[in-house]
C-alpha cells in the first residue's frame, strides 16, 4: 500500500514538474529571439533598452522618447511593428536576424548609431525586448525570406539594361535622373506618419558610406525588392524578375560616382558612357517564380 502510494505520489510530482516547465517555457519562448547559436531574452534586453534606447524610442517603444522631438527622421515606433530593413515581403514582420543586423548596423543619415560596441548577446537581447512592444509578434510570423539568385558578372550590357529599368520603373521620379535624390516628387515625400522624408542620394555615396539597410550588392537588391516599409519606397518584388533586378543593382552602383566599385570600373573601361540597349526587359509577372538555380541567401553577408 505504501509502495503504491509512493509511486502515485512520485507520478503526480513528475507530472506537476512537467506542467511547470511547460507553463514557464511557453511564454519565455514567445519573448526569445534566435540568430545563429545566440538566443536573446527580453528580460535581459529590458535593462539595456532602458539604458541605451529609451531616450529616443521611449518607455513604450513608440518612438516618443524625450529626445524624439529633436530628431529627424523620427525614431522607429516598435508598437506599430512596421520595419524598414527586411529580407521579408512588404507588410510582413522581419526576421530576428533582420532586426539584429539593423541594431548592429545603425541607420545611415539618421540619429541611430551602429551598436557594434555592445556584445552580440546584448544586441540579441535588445531585439527580444523590442518584440514585446507589439502583439503582432504573437499573432503573425515573419514573412518568407526573399530568395536572391547568385549575382551575374558586371558587364556594360548589364549596367545599360539596369539604366533602362531605372527609366521604365520611374525610379527617377523620386531619386532624380542622376540619383541625387532630387526627382520631381522628392520635395513632397512624407513617411507613414506624415513627416517629410528625403529619397536616397546615390551621388553622395563614398567608399565608406552605407545604404540605410546595408552596403553590399545583395543589400541593394533586397532594399528595392522588399521595399522600405513605413516610407514612400515601395516593393518591386512583384514587377522585377531576379536577373533584371541584378542589372538594376549594377546600374545603381554607377550612380555612386565617388565610390570605387567594379561597376564604375566597367563603365570607365567602356568610355564612361552607357550604351543604349536593345535588350527587352523580362515581362513583369504579378508573382514571379524563383529561379530554378536560386539559392536562398537571406540574412547578412
Amino acid at each position: 500500500m505504501t509502495r503504491t502510494f509512493n509511486r502515485a505520489m512520485w507520478m503526480s510530482l513528475l507530472l506537476s514538474l512537467i506542467c511547470l516547465i511547460l507553463v514557464c517555457a511557453i511564454p519565455a519562448r514567445a519573448q526569445e529571439t534566435r540568430v545563429g547559436k545566440l538566443t536573446g531574452h527580453a528580460a535581459a534586453g529590458k535593462q539595456n533598452y532602458q539604458r541605451w534606447c529609451i531616450g529616443c524610442h521611449g518607455p513604450y517603444g513608440d518612438g516618443n522618447g524625450e529626445n524624439a522631438q529633436w530628431i529627424e527622421p523620427k525614431p522607429r515606433d516598435f508598437a506599430a511593428a512596421v520595419f524598414k530593413c527586411r529580407s521579408t515581403p512588404t507588410g510582413t514582420l522581419p526576421t530576428d536576424e533582420d532586426l539584429y543586423n539593423s541594431v548592429a548596423r545603425g541607420f545611415t543619415n539618421s540619429n541611430m548609431p551602429h551598436w557594434d560596441p555592445l556584445t552580440k548577446q546584448t544586441r540579441i537581447d535588445l531585439v527580444a525586448y523590442i518584440k514585446t512592444f507589439s502583439d503582432r509578434w504573437k499573432t503573425d510570423k515573419p514573412g518568407d525570406i526573399l530568395k536572391i539568385p547568385a549575382e551575374p558578372p558586371v558587364t556594360i550590357q548589364s549596367i545599360a539594361h539596369g539604366s533602362e529599368l531605372f527609366q521604365k520603373l520611374e525610379c527617377w521620379k523620386c531619386h532624380g535622373q542622376q540619383g541625387r535624390g532630387d526627382g520631381p516628387s522628392a520635395s513632397t515625400l512624407t513617411d507613414s506618419k506624415d513627416n517629410p522624408i528625403r529619397p536616397y542620394n546615390f551621388a553622395a555615396g563614398t567608399d565608406d558610406s552605407r545604404f540605410k539597410c546595408g552596403n553590399t550588392n545583395q543589400d541593394i537588391y533586397k532594399i528595392f525588392m522588399t521595399g522600405v516599409d513605413g516610407t514612400p519606397m515601395p516593393s518591386f518584388n512583384d514587377v522585377i524578375q531576379p536577373n533584371d533586378a541584378w542589372d538594376l543593382v549594377h546600374y545603381l552602383r554607377t550612380l555612386q560616382i565617388n565610390r570605387h566599385s567594379k561597376e564604375n570600373e566597367v563603365l570607365r573601361a567602356a568610355g564612361g558612357k552607357i550604351p543604349k540597349t536593345e535588350t527587352p526587359a523580362t515581362p513583369p509577372a504579378s508573382q514571379p517564380a524563383p529561379q530554378p538555380d536560386a539559392k536562398p541567401q537571406g540574412g547578412r553577408k
Binding site: 507588410g91 503573425d140 520611374e170 521620379k173 523620386c174 516628387s185 507613414s192
Partner: protein, 232 residues
C-alpha cells in the same frame, strides 16, 4: 395538401430572410459651410495632366445640390452577425488619370481586392493601415492587377507617394450590409432580416454618426444622417 403545408412551413423556417426582408434608405446631408475643394496641380505628371481640360479638384469632401454629401460609407455596425465568409467576387480599385476610382472603396474582410493601373505612369499603392498590415507596392504601366486582402475591420487611407494628390480610402467591413452615398447623398441597404441594428455612417473628414433602427418585416425605414461640415 398536408405535404404542401409542410413544404411552406419548412420554407418559412429555412428561409426567413426571403420572406421578411426590410430596407433602410436615407440621405446624407451636412450643416455649416464645407471647405471648398482645392485645385490639383498635375503639371509634374504630364501623362495625367493632359487628360483634364480644367484642373481636377480634391475629393475629400464631395457635395451635391441641397447640401447632400457623397462618399459616406453607411453600414450595419451592430446587430447583424459577422459574415463567416467573404464574397468570391473581387472589388476593383483603379488608378486612372492619376486619381482613384472609386475614391472610397468598401469591401468585406477577406474579400479579394484588385488594384489596377490604367495609366501610362508608375504608381505605388500604399495603404496606411494601422490594424491591418501596412504594405507598399510599385505598379508600373502595363503590369497585371495586384491582388490583396485585409483581415481586420478598418478605414484605411491609401496614397501614392509619387503623386501626393492621390488619396483614397479602403473601408474594410465585417458586414455585407453596406452602401456608399454617391451623386445625390442617397444610400440604400436592402435585404435586412428582422432585427435591431445600429447603423454607422463614416466620412473621411467629418467622422462618424450612428443611428438605431428596428426592422420587423417587409418594410422600408428612412434613416437620414447629418454631418457637421468643417470649414478647413
Amino acid at each position: 395538401m398536408r405535404s404542401t403545408k409542410v413544404f411552406i412551413t419548412s420554407a418559412l423556417l429555412l428561409c426567413p430572410s426571403l420572406m421578411l426582408a426590410g430596407t433602410v434608405s436615407g440621405k446624407i446631408t451636412y450643416t455649416g459651410t464645407p471647405a471648398k475643394p482645392k485645385t490639383i496641380d498635375m503639371s509634374k505628371e504630364p501623362n495625367c495632366a493632359k487628360a483634364y481640360t480644367t484642373p481636377p479638384l480634391t475629393e475629400s469632401v464631395v457635395t451635391g445640390a441641397g447640401n447632400t454629401l457623397d462618399n459616406v460609407v453607411v453600414y450595419i455596425s451592430a446587430g447583424a452577425p459577422d459574415e463567416k465568409s467573404a464574397p468570391s467576387q473581387a472589388v476593383t480599385f483603379e488608378q486612372h488619370n492619376c486619381r482613384y476610382t472609386p475614391h472610397v472603396l468598401a469591401m468585406q474582410i477577406g474579400q479579394e481586392l484588385k488594384v489596377v493601373n490604367s495609366d501610362q505612369t508608375s504608381h505605388n499603392i500604399h495603404p496606411l493601415a494601422k490594424l491591418n498590415r501596412e504594405w507598399n507596392k510599385s505598379q508600373p504601366p502595363g503590369t497585371p492587377p495586384l491582388s490583396e486582402k485585409f483581415d481586420k475591420e478598418e478605414f484605411i487611407p491609401v496614397k501614392c507617394n509619387v503623386h501626393p494628390w492621390m488619396r483614397g480610402y479602403f473601408a474594410v467591413l465585417k458586414t455585407s450590409h453596406y452602401a456608399i452615398s454617391t451623386g445625390d447623398g442617397k444610400f440604400t441597404l436592402p435585404n435586412l432580416p428582422p432585427g435591431k441594428y445600429t447603423l454607422t455612417a463614416w466620412h473621411e473628414d467629418y467622422g462618424t454618426n450612428t443611428a438605431d433602427v428596428t426592422i420587423t418585416g417587409n418594410e422600408t425605414k428612412d434613416v437620414d444622417f447629418t454631418f457637421k461640415a468643417k470649414a478647413y
